[in-house]
Amino acid sequence: MSSPRASRSVLPGFGLSLGFTLIYLSLIVLIPLSAAFIKTAGMSWADFVAAVTSPRVLASYRLSFGVSLIAAMVNGFFGLILAWVLVRYTFPGRRVVDALVDLPFALPTAVAGIALTAIYSKNGWAGQWLEPLWARGIHQLSVLVPAVDWENWLGGKLAFDRPGIFLALTFVGLPFVVRTLQPVLADLEPELEEAAATLGANRWQTMTRVILPELMPALITGFALAFARALGEYGSVVFIAGNMPQHSEITPLLIITKLEQYDYRGATAIAVVMLVASFVLLLLINLLQKWSRRYYRI
């Protein structure tokens, strides 16, 4: 069956399609991105370093990358459960729930930001209950572990503070995890679990030894997509973040702030740092995914 010819592609025209791919990628991705680099190239190295390492900018990197990471991890966990429920169970309204998952894709993010703010601000219908609860929780933490400035780290309010950023970023990232996991879960035959059970595995073992290894690559992809999406998110976050300098300012907002002052170079300098950092992180996550595939498959 396996003749040497099998390695040849079924579809002809590799040269043509590769050329097309490269042109397409250049027009849509590479040229606009290189414009950012070229614009920055007009700056002296000292100016560049000064622009991208001022305390306010550094604080925004920490916030943007930190909250995006947390939001992506939370999405990884709950997205897995959501995908599991949607694939494995049939229940009335399943299709509606399934369609709801796509909503963050389609909704203009500004609308999402305004809606989230309306719900979670202190006079919103969820915020009026949750905000006092949150404040009390933070207070308890401060009593228990007084060494850490919890209110500063976690934010004393829901909307107009750091938790708001987390909410917005979780919202925009959710569909990425669910939609990457769904097809993989659908392919995962229930027989596998049954076989594991007949071989004497308990539920925990089935989960960690049989199911999770199969899902790991897709889960990491979904996580990476959600993380990348969260890093670049601007529209919804500015409405709910409160935007206090050095506290709840995300990096994309600082880019806009620079533009607002006609400082095109400073803005692109920060953008370049974000681009490079995101690229490196995504590369690392891809490597991790490759590794996990090999590790679990052997």
Binding site: R56, N243, M244, Q246, K258, E260, Y262
Partner: protein, 331 residues
């Protein structure tokens, strides 16, 4: 060159003499709170221009944050005229893209600002904290809503008004800086634009006082009712001058210079001034100002030129990166 100029003036003459009624389209790029004003004004100007020349003018409006709008024009938005929140944003049209001459502000009367406004306080009904003047705002526990001056034109006026008050009262720049720092300590949310800040205050119920354009404050009263909010006028505030200018490069290319000029000049006419007053902008013309005197409370108004040496200087000292505003947030 000369023959071309003659031809153009002949054409212009032909247009003015009404040989053939044309339909002209202008684009007015403005900032957020002027929407209602220019809806009114565009109608009036179209009627005036029709009567004068027989031509139909439709004026399209574009609104947004003042800085963002200026950037749009710099990046190629074909605006015939700009009517922005502050001179610094119009200056950028010269500084960054040379779309207008450097001395643009001298081309029309009164710094090219046909109407003015000021910064007042909007408080919740009954003024529960008894806020009367800027001094009351820096007291502990008062929560102030104002947008980020780095992203919002209106917020820069707010900041400068507070600074001017402290400077007048206490005399030194250091005292003014301390005052402004104390004021921003009481700000829990820095929205990116004036409309966002109004939403935070009005819809979300955050804050005790909103620093607002006078006309925005009046609009909020009109829209949400005097039973919810009231306006408090401080003893001193800043004379906010939102300037207007034609965009020379664009009108030359489109051949709309005459009508664009007339559009701005008509803002200074009796009718234009009346429309400004009706839309809660303070008219420049004494007759119109007298008519609306009962609407606009009297207070001491200082100008940016006298107090801060003009926009370019104020921008550099206070709002540029590393400027005073950044300093007060440094830990």
């Amino acid at each position: 060159m000369k023959s071309k100029a003659v031809l153009i003036s002949l054409l212009a003459l032909a247009a003015v003499s009404g040989a053939a009624a044309k339909s002209i389209e202008l684009l007015n790029v403005s900032y957020d709170p002027t929407r209602e004003l220019y809806v009114d004004y565009n109608k009036a100007f179209a009627a005036y221009w029709k009567a004068k020349t027989g031509d139909d003018v439709t004026v399209k409006q574009s609104h947004g944050g003042s800085g963002k709008q200026a950037r749009g024009v710099i990046d190629g938005l074909q605006a015939d005229v700009v009517t922005l929140a502050l001179a610094a944003d119009v200056d950028a049209l010269y500084d960054v893209a040379k779309l207008i001459p450097q001395d643009w502000q001298k081309r029309l009367p009164q710094n090219s600002t046909p109407y003015t406004s000021t910064i007042v306080f909007l408080v919740r009904k009954g003024n529960p904290l008894g806020l009367k003047d800027w001094d009351d705002l820096v007291k502990p526990g008062v929560s102030i809503i104002t947008p980020n001056p780095k992203t919002s034109g209106g917020a820069r006026w707010n900041y400068l008004a507070a600074w001017a008050y402290a400077k007048h009262k206490q005399g030194s720049d250091d005292a003014a800086k301390a005052f402004v720092a104390a004021l921003y300590k009481n700000v829990p949310v820095l929205d990116s634009g004036a409309r966002g800040a109004t939403t935070t205050f009005v819809q979300r119920g955050i804050g005790d006082v909103l620093l607002a354009w006078e006309n925005e404050a009046f609009l909020a009263l009109k829209e949400f009712g005097t039973d919810k909010f009231e306006i408090v006028v401080p003893s001193l505030s800043i004379l906010a001058e939102p300037p207007v200018s034609i965009v020379d490069k664009v009108v030359k290319k489109k051949g709309t210079e005459t009508v664009a000029r007339a559009y701005l000049e008509y803002l200074y006419s009796a009718e234009g001034q009346d429309i400004a007053g009706r839309n809660f902008y303070r008219p420049r013309d004494p007759a119109a100002a007298a008519k609306y005197a009962s609407v606009f409370p009297q207070l001491q108004l200082v100008t940016i030129d006298a107090e801060f040496g003009g926009w370019a200087k104020a921008q550099k000292t206070h709002f540029a990166d590393g400027g005073v505003f950044d300093q007060i947030y440094q830990k």
